[in-house]
């Protein structure tokens, strides 16, 4: 029987394992030094905030793995020998594989700041980080978070629930405006302030200072300001975790280099999830890093086919993502650039409460939808996927916007307000709301 070894039990590794098992009876071993059982990394924050226990973050009960003959090994891989097709473990054991998947995830970025390794300074990625966080926060009254992204906002919310004062030190002019258009970034920034958190925008960390006890005491910014704090969260993004791969014959750059089939330079060795760097095919394109839950899942699904003999190209389809900034949910479909690109037009609507907004990007010439960012309103994934795929115009989208609404029953609807704004901004435009609600029959029969 063929033996598949997967290094890493995150969403990419586990999706690969589960989907291989659906198609094949080959022996599957998943190795992790983080936890024995798969858990949802995205839920770490909820454990800390007391919304859930660790068990609640495990998508499968513990009997699932034995029943599906997926062997779980709680150990650390120290080296990979692709010539003898074997790996060595910290426990001293070594295992032979027929096929190997690297799904080692990410590590938190650190940019060589003085004091970045002091006690009381850390990132947030793994379950161990969460345990360290509990330890680090024991005496914390004031925390500084460096770097404003999706992990930064989660960490801030976590600390806030413990009554800790949070100050963000952020390079950007507005929160996450390296990704979000400035209107959206302003909405998020405003909401952060509303929660009583402090934002130091357009500010860089210069140095982290130790106190007499050797732990962090304060930070200094590039503006010369010293901020007293007992904890520093470093959340300026993550990088592929390639520690163990670096010393093997497997080709790496910043991540494990793979082609569109998630194959490495070595036959029978693949990679998936956060740790990959997908090589650009065309001239002028850049290598891709995809460090999202969703892409990890999609990598795993495609890769499982390839491993089972049905070589499948990884295609990520219409882009989508979502997040939650404190109380405000965010979804995005298609491609929304933070700065308007050439040939693009934008329609923007924001509710007076500043907690709901829609930012629609479309082609200036043919008005075809390119992407949408939405805050505080839920939209239907499958409807927007279809509209982008079919090249629907912004006018079509607005007239049928009711079909894409995914807010709970009785929620106030804003489609009419949004259309009115569009009509008032575009001379001669008199759009009317044609589809007010979603009906599955209408969706199936392509009515919108």
């Amino acid at each position: 029987m063929k033996h598949l070894i997967i290094i890493g039990n995150g969403i990419a590794g586990i999706t690969t394992a589960r989907n291989v098992r659906k198609q094949s009876d080959m022996k599957i071993t998943v190795i992790s030094s983080e936890t024995k059982y798969f858990f949802s990394r995205t839920a770490l924050m909820y454990i800390f905030m007391g919304h859930m226990k660790f068990e609640n973050t495990q998508p499968y009960e513990n009997w699932f793995w034995e029943k599906n003959k997926i062997d779980l090994v709680f150990d650390f891989v120290t080296s990979i020998d692709t010539d003898s097709k074997s790996i060595s473990l910290k426990s001293g054991k070594s295992l032979n594989y027929d096929k190997l998947v690297i799904a080692t995830g990410s590590v938190s970025n650190k940019f060589g700041w003085p004091g970045q390794d002091l006690p009381g300074v850390q990132g947030l990625y793994s379950k161990q980080d969460l345990e360290l966080l509990e330890e680090n926060l024991k005496e914390t009254k004031h925390a500084v978070i460096v770097g404003g992204g999706l992990i930064g906002i989660e960490l801030a919310e976590m600390l806030h629930t413990r009554g800790i004062k949070v100050t963000f030190v952020i390079r950007e002019e507005l929160y996450w405006d390296n990704i979000l258009p400035k209107e959206d970034a302003a909405l998020v920034s405003r909401h952060i302030l509303e929660h009583g958190m402090e934002l130091k925008l357009a500010t860089n960390l210069k140095e982290i200072l130790p106190g007499d006890n050797g732990r962090v005491r304060a930070i200094i910014t590039d503006k010369g300001e010293e901020i007293e704090c007992q904890f520093v969260g470093l959340t300026p993004g993550v990088s592929p975790n390639i520690r163990v791969v670096k010393n093997s014959n497997i080709e790496t750059n910043r991540g494990v280099l793979v082609n569109d089939y998630l194959e490495t330079n070595i036959p029978d060795v693949y990679a998936s999830g956060d740790c990959v760097e997908i090589k650009a095919v065309n001239e002028g394109e850049r290598n891709r890093f995809e460090q999202l839950w969703y892409t990890g899942k999609m990598h795993g699904e495609a890769l499982a086919n390839t491993i089972c003999g049905n070589r499948t190209k990884y295609e990520r389809g219409i882009w989508f993502n979502s997040a939650k900034f404190l109380d405000i949910e965010y979804q995005t479909y298609g491609f929304v650039s933070n700065v308007k690109r050439k040939g693009e037009s934008v329609f923007y609507w924001v509710h007076p409460s500043n907690k709901k907004s829609m930012y629609i990007v479309f082609n200036s010439d043919n008005h075809k939808l390119i992407g949408i960012n939405v805050f505080g309103i839920r939209l239907r994934h499958k409807v927007f996927e279809r509209w982008i795929e079919q090249g629907k115009t912004v006018e079509y989208v607005l007239e049928n916007l009711g079909a894409a609404n995914f807010d709970p029953e009785f929620f106030k609807k804003y489609e009419q307000e949004i259309i009115n704004k569009f009509n008032s901004e575009n001379l001669g435009s008199d759009l009317i709301l044609k589809t007010k609600t979603f009906r599955i029959k209408d969706f199936i029969s392509n009515k919108f």
Partner: protein, 441 residues
């Protein structure tokens, strides 16, 4: 770049210390509990109204005073902070004490009511005012129950103020409890009519369709006929129709008194439900057994009635007594509510209620209701499953992009609310396309 003004209108300063108002609320609750304790000695028997205010009154005002400041400590949104650290809501010491206390109260209420004599006297003024007669233990119980639904309902209205679905359905259960399960039965008594609960039907109020009850109702003339007719219509006609359009939620989380208590007083305990596949199996065995049991019992008592006891002797009365003790009292009361802090708030509804069993079959087999999963947006975090009071592993469907159609779902809508990615939506839509089952497990 043009400068964007980002100063918000209001800034909330959150800290974890109790506000002064909250401390005052806790003090009043403490005094109210003291009022209850003192009343039990009979000290208030001569001035029941005063002691009613010192017990029920102070506790209620205290609870509301404790709840209200939540409005200003942070913006509206999902705030399940510290639930698994709190001693009341995470099966720790206080939870056990509370569980034993409520369980004990039910045991005393059912089997040692004389112990409560002095508490019953507390609600005498209220009883005379509403019903023009002396209070009894069931009026005391009804008063406790209604206060619990109204006060904890107010807490829900504040906690869920960002979600209109929860606001409306909470107002609905508060309305039905206060109006249909408390005031109307009381007014009927005042008017010398049979005490009747229009929001409970067979098989939850199993004796409503027993020959004895039907017979005695019919003796009351037109209103009695209406009550019997209403009950039969609700059970056999309205239930399938409403369940077809809206799922079982029209009853379980909008109207029913058991559901009303679970959705208000029981809300802090919803995360304690067992999500394992084992519990799901147990649920199916138990709930359908109870349904069979009560159906059989009802048939037997009718046979007995028709044949004047000649055919079966006292078999049917043994059946109905055993059902009344095991299911009516032990399961729905003692375990169903007493064990809120240990097993969660829907133990009775999930494992025992025969009405829920019927509604569940209708919901599963013939209904427009489902919970729609939003494409591939699920991140498997598990908030939905954790906060499902019925112990449904919602995530297991959501992460496969599959809709949720489950007999037990009461449509409370909490899974949709706590989802941080906008993945779940309660919907009534075309019956033929509800879900697709294509599962590896």
């Amino acid at each position: 770049m043009e400068q964007i003004q980002i100063q918000p209108l209001k800034i909330y300063q959150h800290n974890n210390n109790l506000e002064i108002v909250e401390k005052a609320g806790l003090t009043l609750i403490g005094l109210g509990i003291l009022g209850f304790a003192v009343s039990l000695t009979g000290m208030g028997n001569n001035t029941p109204l005063l002691f009613f205010l010192l017990s029920f009154g102070l506790t209620s005002i205290g609870a509301l005073t404790f709840i209200l400041p939540k409005l200003k400590t942070s913006p509206a949104g999902v705030k399940n902070n510290n639930i698994f650290f709190n001693t009341f809501t995470s099966r720790k010491t206080a939870a056990w004490i509370l569980g034993i206390f409520i369980t004990g109260f039910y045991i005393i209420l059912y089997w040692f009511p004389e112990t409560l004599t002095n508490w019953i006297k507390l609600v005498d003024p209220l009883s005379y005012w509403l019903r023009n007669q002396k209070a009894d233990r069931w009026f005391l119980y009804g008063t406790f129950y209604t206060f619990a639904v109204l006060i904890m309902g107010t807490r829900m209205l504040i906690k869920k103020r960002h979600n209109k679905y929860h606001i409306i359905r909470t107002l609905s259960v508060m309305f039905f409890q206060l109006g249909f399960a408390f005031l109307i039965p009381a007014l009927l008594l005042r008017l010398n009519q049979p005490e009747h609960y229009f929001t409970y039907f067979w098989p939850l109020h199993y004796y409503d369709l027993f020959p004895g009850s039907v017979d005695s109702l019919l003796k009351n003339g037109n209103i009695g006929y209406f009550m019997v007719f209403w009950g039969a219509i609700m059970t056999f006609i309205a239930t399938p129709i409403l369940s077809y359009f809206y799922g079982k939620r029209w009853y379980c989380s909008w109207v029913c008194g058991c559901g009303g208590l679970a959705e208000t007083a029981g809300d802090p305990f919803r995360q304690l439900s067992d999500k394992s596949v084992k519990a799901w199996k147990l649920e199916r065995w138990l709930i359908y057994s109870v349904l069979v049991f009560i159906t059989l019992t009802t048939i037997l008592v009718w046979l007995n009635f028709v044949y004047h006891g000649e055919l079966l002797g006292n078999v049917s009365s043994v059946f109905s007594q055993v059902y009344g003790f095991l299911i009516g009292a032990m399961f729905s009361g003692v375990i169903g509510v007493g064990f809120y802090p240990i097993l969660g708030n829907r133990v009775w509804c999930r494992f025992g209620c025969p009405m829920a069993a019927i509604l569940g079959i209708l919901q599963k087999k013939k209904s427009k209701f489902r919970i729609t999963t939003n494409g591939d947006q699920c991140i498997s975090c598990g908030n939905c499953s954790t906060y499902c009071e019925m112990g449904i592993d919602v995530r297991s469907y959501a992460q496969r992009g599959e809709n949720i159609v489950r007999a037990s779902c009461v449509g409370c809508g909490i899974c949709s609310e706590v989802c941080p990615r906008g993945v779940l939506k309660l919907e009534n839509d075309f019956t033929d396309v509800r879900t697709n089952f294509n599962i590896l497990n």
